[in-house]
């Protein structure tokens, strides 16, 4: 599919233009005292040049690579991917508010029920075991400082 390459080339080309504009804003300096924007500007030019080359390849309908190693998933797969991304993002936002054990418990319940549904008692049990066990391992055993939240752990 040349079209996938075309999409990524256009995205990268747009990015490179934005980087160059941003770099100009930081100031290029002179050759003997390169400024803050000098190196990013050069990188922007490089990425722009390479993505134009890639666009040219894709235009000719050539495969830069023979076939997709991992094609797009079906609707079911997409849901799973989105669910995990959302769960991980949520974990990041909630971790310091709810504390480690509770957030980890919620994450496990979500992942065990949401991705490949397990029975409730199994999901809850494993989640409880995982959050307490990992707390013991990380906080008590390895002395990692984990956020405590209102449960105190």
């Amino acid at each position: 599919m040349g079209s996938r390459d075309r999409i990524s080339a256009i995205v990268l080309l747009t990015l490179s233009v934005m980087v160059c504009i941003g770099a100009l804003g930081y100031g290029l300096g002179t050759f003997s005292t390169p400024g803050t924007g000098f190196f990013p500007f050069l990188l922007g030019i490089l990425i722009g040049f390479l993505s134009i080359l890639m666009l040219a390849h894709a235009k000719r309908g050539e495969e830069v690579k023979e076939s997709a190693k991992s094609p797009w998933p079906g609707i079911e797969g997409r849901k799973k991917v989105l669910a995990i991304v959302a769960a991980l993002g949520g974990y990041g936002f909630l971790l310091e508010k709810l504390g480690y054990s509770l957030t980890t418990f919620l994450l496990f319940v979500l992942l065990l029920k949401g991705i490949q549904p397990q029975k409730w008692y199994l999901a809850m049990g494993v989640a409880l075991l995982a959050s307490l066990g990992s707390y013991a391992l990380f906080q008590v055993g390895l002395q990692v400082e984990l956020p405590r939240g209102f449960l105190g752990m």
Partner: protein
Amino acid sequence: MEMLHHILFGFQVAMTPANLLYCFFGVLLGTLIGVLPGLGPVATISILMPITLSISPVSAIIMLSGIYYGAQYGGSTTSILINVPGEATSVVTCIDGYKMALQGRAGPALGISAIGSFIGGMVSLLGVMLLAAPLANFALRFGPPEYFSLIFLSLTIVSGLGTGSTLKALLMAGLGMLTGAIGMDMSTGIPRFTFGIRTLYDGVGLVPAIMGLFGIGEILTNIEEKLELDIFKTKIKRILPSREDWVRSRGPIGRGTLIGFFLGVIPGGGALISTFASYAVEKKISRHPEQFGQGAIEGVAGPETANNAGAQSSFIPMLALGIPPNVVLAVLISALIIHGIQPGPLLLAKHPDLFWGVITSMFVGNAMLLILNLPLVGLWVQLLRVPYTYLFPAILLFCLVGVYSITNNYVEILLMVFFGVVGYLMRKFDFEPAPFVMGLVLSSMMENAFRQSLTLSEGSMTIFFTRPISALLMAVGLGVLVCYVVLGVRKRERGAG
């Protein structure tokens, strides 16, 4: 006899009870995560990195290195028993290793992998011992222009060694360098491309980027389909290879050692390439090439030897130049930095205990691994019976805690998730994350070298071509680029005709 003196000194460091224990812990953990598909040395080293802050840097690096080469031993186990590579460097082992297991010869396949890995690792370490110190001393003469040219050369080679398109790899290297430029500009104090996010002032951390791109990205790709591992249900009888196996494996182990050693030094995951190279060579020179793919022990012995030889020799550029030849060693370098040790050619002079202690500890570690692996194979197999449904949340949790624990900042988690999505999209659009990470790692080093060079030359770009060492490195780098173009054009012509 100066070398002997250094080696003895190294053993004095490595053989203290504490360091022996850390070494043992490292290789044991390395084997464990090597066996588990999806949890690799990068994530493990990242998680343990902050924890090692409480122990001495020498012990820390000894343990973290053990995780890396231990994983090379463990990776083959899953390849042979369930046809799923535990590590990327064991992909080739699946071909003949799994066939051997199906024929009831899982024992000798596992045995010869461990023995081959041991021989390859030990011989390669001798090379590390002989070469690392002279190279470090030589590199003391390097100024900013030499470093710039060396990094340029590294990045061009990295881009060509991937399995996909060179053009895309170069793009990824560029994008990685750009990501590395995010954060406060060291010489002016101006924040670049931080979008007002405070955490980004210190730059994009290597750990969230790597764990996102590799750890999370991999899981997102795996989760689309139901992944249940089919475990090979058989008793493993006699691990020791037969006399015939020995005779057939001698050559592949010898050649695998050489291939692994030389390719491991080259930037861009040389250990991985060496497994493919070794397999190809053995098949080519074999008198029975038709047996390859049908359970030929040569196809297990060669690549498994090569990957461990490569893992060891990749320490040469890391210890001597401060330039990581692959992603795992990049993380190891950031571990050095966290411990307040500046990687580079001065490492040898300033921290000889670390330099020689780490190298000699790897002799000890390899011996431990040989003893660990043969009798414990059965135990590792049991581990694989944990279903993926329960395994992947655990791997995700390790990544989350690992990222968080480095700075105790939740923004790092969000950053990792972001890179996870990027890594997922890269796989979908056929880009490889490895050159990206190499670009990210080398970016600030390259920019500093570039700016200092230009200041030195008062703005003249010719400085990279007038100093002999720099000129040579540049010439080779440009030559590599020309090769890519020529090969690309030739491929296209063949495609058209």
